[in-house]
Symmetry: C2
Subunit: 280 residues, 2 copies
């Protein structure tokens, strides 16, 4: 059994992005720029945005840290997003979700120009993903694929089971696995005999948000297990997979924390660089 | 075993659309309008467009039959599509594919305004489908769902297997089945043990375009089998499923021809009415 070291892989990706940004700038281009937009003063959201800005600085991506007051109107947010759409120094735009309750986050996200949608969550980016057309893909699903790739998991014809069908994770991962030529089953809360469905997986992705839903004996011997879950149980962060028993059967498995999590910001940086290159 | 009568169900749908169009017009609205755009003089395409126009007339949808010469430029097609986008009498626009070789059909389709994309094939419509947001869905996948619905097939938690992953059929059907709460497996040419994968299906959708690829003994006893294939074999139209043997095991099965085929135009009419209502 091999434990997937998400932190180390994320660091590799970040190093690569730093080198590629340096090459890009050395070739005479402006540094890529990431604008984050935070509405209100939610503490957790502020930490996430701070981490993203810090990560930008480390790879020499320009960070633009925009804050709007908690009572900002829909029009205020739209106006800012449109300004950022028009600003050539801004390669990518990230509206930190969720915004205060009086605002519709996903709807506002649609104001972001497709070429700057580095979170990859707008309908147009979703459409480009599912149609296999060039575009920006969502960061966490990209991170899962990166983990599988760095461990040389053969996806061609593999049975992949994705438990969860969120717009953010489950459905885009299913799409990426399908593009990698896996046979993909998307399972969810209404799935009958979820244990049996999981047992057929050569690659098992858990993205439901229910602590320890997936038991160790649901894991096929030798399977690659990617746990996207981030649940708090008895004061500790834990995944959707019962790690202690799953580890006995998996060939490859992500811990929680330290598995998929660190990849999200790394892929955001990579997306920002890609957006800059695509716009050039 | 019940044979699905696609012709009869399509006729029911067309009757319903006709009644709903009449109610819509009686309520003081303009009749919905469908603009078809045919570039060049391909005989088969001309027949398809003719059928669509005839179907419109039967349900009192206004038909606008636009023809461009075989040497029409990309700009010519775009200009026409933009005019139709702006024309309030046109509720839906269908660019007949494929256009002559010098034109990029899918790319041109992207010029159609999302609210008028009655074929449901643009990236934005694809994104709305996969994100489960309101929008126009592609006609053939909608037709498959309609057949299952009219036969009261219980999709909740059912194991659905879709063989094929085209943008036109396989992927959108997988998405619609997932929204109906089926556990959905998308299989394809790289799938290992396709026979075993098919055998687990309560609902089996074949959309590959290979005559008789799916053998009768791959069908689970009592399964609902939807065959989207339209292949020519020994001069006869035939599906992707070996019908004569599958019929012994299926609980419900579409013939080819006369199964899914007739639904496509019926769903196009329904989409056109929906587009008119959404635009009002």
């Amino acid at each position: 059994m091999t434990l997937i070291d998400g932190k180390a892989i994320a660091q590799q990706v970040r190093n690569e992005v730093r080198e590629q940004v340096a090459e890009w700038v050395a070739a005479g281009h402006d540094a890529p720029g990431l604008a984050t937009v935070l509405v209100g003063d939610d503490a957790a959201s502020a930490v996430y945005v701070g981490n993203k800005q810090k990560a930008c600085a480390e790879v020499a991506i320009q960070g633009f840290d925009h804050r709007l007051p908690v009572d900002a109107t829909e029009d205020d947010v739209k106006r800012l997003l449109h300004e950022l759409n028009a600003d050539p120094k801004v390669s990518g735009i990230l509206l930190q979700l969720p915004p205060p309750k009086h605002l519709d986050g996903p709807k506002l996200t649609e104001e972001i120009a497709p070429g700057k949608d580095v979170d990859g969550l707008t309908p147009i980016s979703t459409g480009l993903l599912h149609k296999n057309l060039p575009g920006l893909r969502p960061c966490t699903p990209l991170g899962c694929m990166e983990l599988l790739k760095r461990h040389d998991v053969d996806l061609q014809g593999a049975e992949a089971v994705v438990v969860g069908r969120s717009d953010l994770v489950g459905k885009p991962i299913s799409a990426l696995l399908l593009q990698a030529n896996a046979t993909v089953t998307t399972a969810h809360s209404r799935t009958r005999d979820l244990d049996e469905v999981c047992r057929r997986a050569d690659v098992l992705v858990a993205a439901v948000g229910v602590a320890h839903l997936i038991k160790g004996d649901w894991v096929k011997e030798g399977a690659a297990v990617i746990d996207v879950g981030m649940n708090r149980l008895d004061g500790k962060l834990t995944g959707d997979v019962e790690f202690d028993s799953a580890v006995e059967r998996a060939g490859l498995i992500t811990p929680v924390p330290g598995g998929v999590g660190p990849l999200t910001v790394a892929m955001l940086l990579r997306n920002t660089l890609q957006a800059a290159k695509d716009a050039a």
